[in-house]
């Protein structure tokens, strides 16, 4: 049973426009959510996170939104740049554990 779901396997966006990556989860006990970025032949790198007590967190061009009632989070990248082209993984964890549950990833392509 997939507790963290990324239903869009790929997304293509023009440079300068907004990229919106979506993630849904089923476990209401999750209290921390993270986004990771992965380039080919490299390990995932931490991008941004949000606690369940917040509904928004910003870091430069990256903003994560959390809608707990809908069990949905999204990552906004504005403006998108070609260097943002990568696979993005959503992940979630539960209070008092440090095990992350990952989604299946969304491949973002930013074209000129």
């Amino acid at each position: 049973d997939q507790q963290v779901k990324q239903n869009s396997p790929s997304l293509s966006v023009q440079e300068g426009r907004i990229s919106i990556l979506n993630c849904d989860y089923t476990n209401s006990m999750f209290d921390y959510f993270l986004w990771y970025k992965k380039y080919p032949a490299e390990g995932p790198t931490f991008l941004i996170s949000i606690s369940s007590i917040k509904d928004k967190n910003e870091d430069g061009r990256f903003t994560v939104f959390l809608n707990k009632s809908a069990k949905h989070l999204s990552l906004h990248i504005v403006p998108s740049q070609p260097g943002d082209s990568a696979v993005y993984f959503c992940a979630a964890s539960q209070l008092n554990t440090d095990k992350l549950i990952f989604g299946t990833g969304t491949r973002l392509q930013v074209f000129p």
């Binding site: 993270l34 032949a41 490299e42 390990g43 931490f46 996170s49 440090d98 992350l100």
Partner: protein, 113 residues
């Protein structure tokens, strides 16, 4: 800063062979993890450790073993390799609970033929 180092980067095994995937971190992190990534399947947790001498199973532990004799090292052992273990393996570490960001190694691509 080395971070998390995994060796080897690539390996081809024959069915039934054994091998150890090495993972070392130099950040003095207590928590270490092994994940595998299959195409289109995201990352699945194999084993994890909350400190030296303590290990526990994740979602997909069958066919694997781990040990944690030091804070720095967390090797993953494959016994009797099977084609289903063909995957990319990632080791990660973190300093605390609460979903703090993991630091990942660059991965080991394993093919079992």
């Amino acid at each position: 800063n080395a971070g998390v180092t995994q060796t080897p980067k690539f390996r081809i095994l024959k069915i039934g062979q054994s091998m150890t995937l090495q993972c070392t971190q130099d950040m003095n992190h207590n928590y270490m993890y092994w994940y595998r990534q299959d195409p289109g399947m995201g990352l699945k947790l194999i084993y994890y450790s909350v400190g030296a001498g303590i290990t526990d199973k994740g979602e997909v532990p069958n066919g694997y073993n781990v040990s944690r004799s030091t804070t720095e090292d967390f090797p993953l052992r494959l016994e009797l390799a099977a084609p289903s273990q063909t995957s990319v393996y990632f080791c990660a570490s973190s300093s605390q609970t609460g979903g703090s960001g993991y630091t990942f190694g660059s991965g080991t691509r394993l093919t079992v033929v």
